[in-house]
Amino acid sequence: MEYPIHFKVNGQALYGIVHEPEPDRAGPLVVFLHGWAGSRLGPHRMFVHMARRLTTRGCVCLRFDFRGRGDSGGTTTDASIRSMIADATAALDFLLPQYPERQVILLAICSGCKVAIGAAATDARVGGLALWSPEPMGPMRNTSSKNRKSLDAMRTYGRKLLRLETWRKLLTFRVNVKMVKKAVGAREVAGQGEISDETLWLNQLHNFKGRMLCIHGTNDPETAASKAGYKSLCSRLGIPQEVHEITGANHSFYGLDWERKVIDLTDTWMVSM
């Protein structure tokens, strides 16, 4: 069964869908965390397909839109990884009382993986991390990464796109300029403060006592740095990690065959949890 839900964070409504298994099926509770420019559907409905598969395994799944994204309240310019972590925590606060005694897994894609890491580092309820195309965080970041858009490009790109009121707010410093720069782009770009946050979350991940799954595409420019970074992290912190590469896949697995492989691997890992 699938049913819509909403919960509030700082007075804003966040909308989502709960996928419920047949009664008396007791799998993990899986919360899906989408990427910066995405929504609860995931790329080409990938989250929907995954959630429906996991429900057949007895999992309860929640897919929701972060504040300022999808159907949820809030503004995009106010969003940040920090606010997304707060949203993820609120999602757990909302759902867990209805489904107690279930192991909590965060399943994330792209920059949603940073949210998952940040949440796992600070919330003892998180028992597993399934990360699709996790991006390098903190010291993992490669400043010469070909995939980072220049802030200049994003600034000029954004100038046209925002309404006058937003720019008025910017000029009176009522909107965080860095947030706007981040918001106008397809990919989240970190300022120095955010890199510090990411480093802190990575260091705090020793609080996380679960297992991690990482799936990368071989044609994702970030895979090399990301794979090495998360492998080193898990090794250092003693986190059992399973890693897979999907041959030929790009960052968001834009292909039916790639999607199917990611879903199959995640399904198998979930069963083993």
């Binding site: 858009k149 220049s150 046209k160």
Partner: protein, 86 residues
């Protein structure tokens, strides 16, 4: 009257069609369109359509190669070769 260089026509088109609000003349010939100017797969489609309309050429599917779209200079060479061929 001097005919406008292909590079300059491309820069004009890139700036307007890809919604980059930098002056066309500020786009450098040999800087990476993707890394330095934020052109991605979504905006590349606009670029392809724009090039075909602006220059009256057809880009065959077999010639969709990233090397042609790496920089303005590479793109100009590619467009020039298509114009000569046609």
């Amino acid at each position: 009257m001097t005919e406008e260089k292909i590079e300059d026509r491309l820069k004009r088109m890139i700036a307007s069609r890809l919604f980059l609000k930098i002056a066309p003349e500020a786009i450098e010939d040999n800087k990476s369109l993707m890394d330095d100017y934020g052109v991605d797969s979504v905006s590349l489609l606009e670029l392809v359509v724009g090039i075909e309309e602006e220059f009256g050429i057809v880009i065959p599917d077999e010639e969709f190669s990233i090397k042609h779209f790496a920089t303005v200079a590479a793109l100009a060479a590619f467009v020039g070769s298509k114009m000569t061929a046609e």
